[in-house]
Point group: C2
Chain length 112, copies 2
DNA sequence: TGCTTAATTAGCCAATCGGTTTATTATCGC
DNA sequence: GCGATAATAAACCGATTGGCTAATTAAGCA
């Protein structure tokens, strides 16, 4: 994987297990076994996912005796949101839909 | 990679070359050789990146003689933007910063 | 028909990913 | 110190990724 922060962020988000973990953590801190509970997956697998999220700085982790509580660090999502937001006008102003409509007409697939 | 649309979107965005391609296409349609020009990379490599973007439905492609013009299909970014937006309050309301501050105090690393 | 240009396919390769099982480390409580 | 619990590390595996070069396909043009 590329080494820049934005690539690490998007890469971390590209796995549904990791997105689910972030969703869980939006409810508050959780330990590794807590996090692993809903998944049909070994503990080391979850531990690896958490390491990916930690390297991407999407979570931070503490220490409480033998527990390693994970906490959401959502601020890392801001640059990803900003990047995508630069394209928002391309789908919100309906330029897209209009252009697709016109293109399909050219192709003779007009349906209305 | 996981097979769901959102994972494909984030995965496609996790490569800086592919993000740059999308940025180019936000200026308008372009052929494969056009797209490849600024990159220090072989044409087949660019072709593969375009296939990834196409499978992720972030671009669509036409046919004009031997050219295959690629066009941005930004609407696919909407679900990704929506997903991230669910977390916006976690960094915009400064709960994050506050919590991190308090945590660092607990650890005795207070600096002010 | 052949030549040129545009692009993809095929085949290869090293590195990474996402999972496993087993072994190890860290900490608590008795 | 010892046993139990929490978590990570190590070693392995098959599939995927991202790049390359060489070969092939597709289309225009003379």
């Amino acid at each position: 994987m590329a080494t820049d922060q934005l690539s690490r962020t998007f890469s971390a988000l590209s796995d549904p297990t990791r997105r689910a973990i972030l969703t869980m953590l939006s409810q508050g801190e959780a330990t590794v076994t807590d996090i692993a509970a809903p998944f049909d997956m070994s503990l080391p697998a979850i531990s690896k996912h958490l390491q990916v999220l930690e390297k991407a700085e999407l979570i931070s982790r503490g220490r409480d005796a033998q527990w390693r509580p994970a906490r959401l660090n959502a601020v890392t999502l801001a640059p990803a949101a900003d990047w995508i937001d630069d394209y928002r006008r391309f789908w919100e102003t309906s330029f897209d839909a209009l252009e697709q409509h016109l293109t399909s007409e050219e192709k003779g697939t007009t349906r209305d």
